[in-house]
């Protein structure tokens, strides 16, 4: 168990270093010069050189990377911006705010949208999938299966504005999507995020309905489920205690992948509902050729995904006693 965690954490650290190197290299492959953007419209060469020097951009690439990496652990002193305490991800070229605190400010927005939606869609998906499996071949099954296909073929930027138009503008049922900190007012946090959650759920639930249905049907045909019936367990017990236990493993697997997709998809979600989260930060960092911000956002995303994979592996071991964490 301890060995498992040590190995996985070491692996995760490696992955994050690799991702930061790749981002660094890719950034310099882009034919745009952040120093020029800093310099303004009329830019004498000596100013440009000075800015380059202050940004540390006249050092060789690997030296720049080393400074950046060291800063993450020990902090660094940047001539242009001042002191930057560890974990220092630098200062934004565009807004001059410290990257780390900018990300920290916006993280709750993205996490609220993503995890809230994840809870809603997992609940919906699994419940409808189980109903479909239970009612296999009957009308309820067909309704659930058909509506899941429709849901899966929709897009956030289509359903989102549509739902906002009807639920907010026309009927006035819900407030316009926005982020109210959960620490400030949990009730308002909830109602203001309801539309994004619902929209994401409509689209992603379909997968879970279909998958839950098919894995449940598969599990119900397993020998050990037949044994449970043969020893007098009721249909409901067999369904919930036996078949569902086996069905959880593929669902957890796909859910881990989808959570990562949802995080990545935060860009689209946040653009659609004008929420100020990490996704928006990422888009702006790209537009502004803002290397420190881009690196920061990429790393936070990578960190989340790597953590999720470890979590999924731990969950496997919880669900299935045959899985050993090594």
């Amino acid at each position: 168990m301890v060995r498992f965690f040590l190995r996985r954490v070491a692996g995760a650290a490696m992955i994050m270093v690799i991702i930061s190197v790749v981002t660094f290299v890719l950034f310099y492959a882009v034919p745009r010069d952040p120093a020029r953007a800093f310099c303004g419209k009329i830019c004498p060469p000596q100013n440009l050189a000075l800015i380059r020097h202050n940004l540390g951009m006249d050092d060789p690439l690997f030296v720049q990377y080393w400074h950046w990496l060291a800063g993450v652990f020990t902090g660094r002193d940047l001539p242009q911006f001042g002191e930057c305490a560890a974990p220092c991800l630098g200062y934004s070229f565009a807004t001059r705010e410290p990257v780390f605190s900018a990300i920290l400010d916006r993280l709750p927005v993205t996490l609220s949208v993503t995890f809230g939606a994840a809870v809603v869609l997992l609940t919906f998906g699994v419940v409808t999938g189980m109903i479909a499996a239970w009612q296999q071949g009957r009308p309820l099954d067909k309704i659930a299966s058909a509506s899941s296909v429709i849901g899966a073929s929709l897009q956030i930027y289509f359903v989102g504005p549509l739902l906002v138009f009807f639920a907010v503008d026309t009927l006035g049922l819900l407030p316009r999507p926005a982020y109210v900190p959960i620490t400030e007012d949990p009730g308002r946090w909830f109602v203001h995020l309801l539309i994004p959650w619902l929209v994401l759920s409509i689209i992603f639930t379909a997968n879970y309905t279909r998958m839950t249905r098919s894995v449940m049907i598969e599990q119900l045909a397993e020998d050990y489920v037949r044994t449970a019936r043969a020893k007098g367990m009721s249909g409901r017990t067999v369904f919930l205690r036996f078949a569902w236990r086996g069905a959880m493993i593929p669902i957890v697997t796909i859910f881990g992948v989808d959570l990562a997709t949802l995080l990545g998809g935060a860009i689209i979600t946040e653009q659609t509902f004008t929420l100020h989260g990490i996704g928006e930060l990422a888009v702006r960092a790209v537009q502004n050729t803002d290397l420190p911000m881009l690196l920061g956002v990429t790393l936070v995303g990578a960190f989340a995904i790597v953590t999720l994979t470890i979590l999924v592996d731990v969950l496997y071991a919880v669900i299935d006693p045959r899985v050993r964490l090594r």
Partner: protein, 354 residues
Amino acid sequence: MTDATREREPAAWSGPGPFLSVRDLSVEFATEDGVVHAVDRLSFELEKGTTLGIVGESGSGKSVSTLAVLGLHDPAHATVTGEIWLEGRQLVGADERVMEGLRGDAVSMIFQDPLSSLSPFHTVGRQIAETYRKHRGGGRREARARAVEMLARVGIPHAAARVDDYPHQFSGGMRQRVMIAMALVCDPGLVIADEPTTALDVTVQAQILDLLTELQRESGTSIILITHDLGVVARSARRVLVMYAGRAVEEGSVREVLREPRHPYTWGLLGSMPRLRSDVDLPLLPVRGTPPSMLAPPPGCPFHPRCDHRRLVPGDACAADRPELSPAEGHRDACHLPLARKREIFDGEIRGRL
């Protein structure tokens, strides 16, 4: 829970008629290709405390007919007709709630592959205890104590420690013992063992069979032993039923059927089995041809396309008329050949090859 207070009839069945009586049982499955006639008017009886071996090749309807005793066929896909009388109760068409109460309590089942048939997600103790609690009620602690007792009874060493282990932590033979402990936890009157030794090591097979026989002696359980291994039948059963294409083709005591088999299919079955004492140069004789499709079983005697002796029956009756089991009692078989003729053929051609 009402189950907790309910006192079940003592295991000894003393009413009129046999303990288990199956009459004209048919099981049909509706599939996309048509109706599969898996079991066709099967009848047999089982006395209290005895073992009936059911033999036949894969697809002969052995398992399907016994699953019908437990009422485990999905009514959406399977049609079960006929009668199954257990201790004077008719089980075909019985209410699902009634069947639920019977399964694991009055009738229980031991399956072929204990690894896939036990839940990998629950400890063996819990799987045994939940059966007990379902039918007998009682607290967790009591059920757990009962599970330990059962594990010890089926010969699992250190039962008190192993009760919290998962099935994958046991060896194949030990797993089958767990399965048997689970099947016997409520002292059922009838145990159906569906190829209980097929998935096991040869050395373990005998141990499991002996265990079943021993437990039967202790508690007077009746056993239906499904197998394709005639050696298993010879070792454990009192009577044997030979099935072919969903029908009973021969029935009698083990001694009768194995020593003086009458049906040509039984001859084929015996001839295809290796024997330790026979001449090593004597080739094994497989039954010619392949088993029939149960979508369209052959008319008349289902074995006639593979039978070497059908020319001896006048008027090709084998392909036209279905032979019934005869005589009514004792050693019976379903074949158009006269009994004297079959004895003649067996003594003249078959016995020497076995």
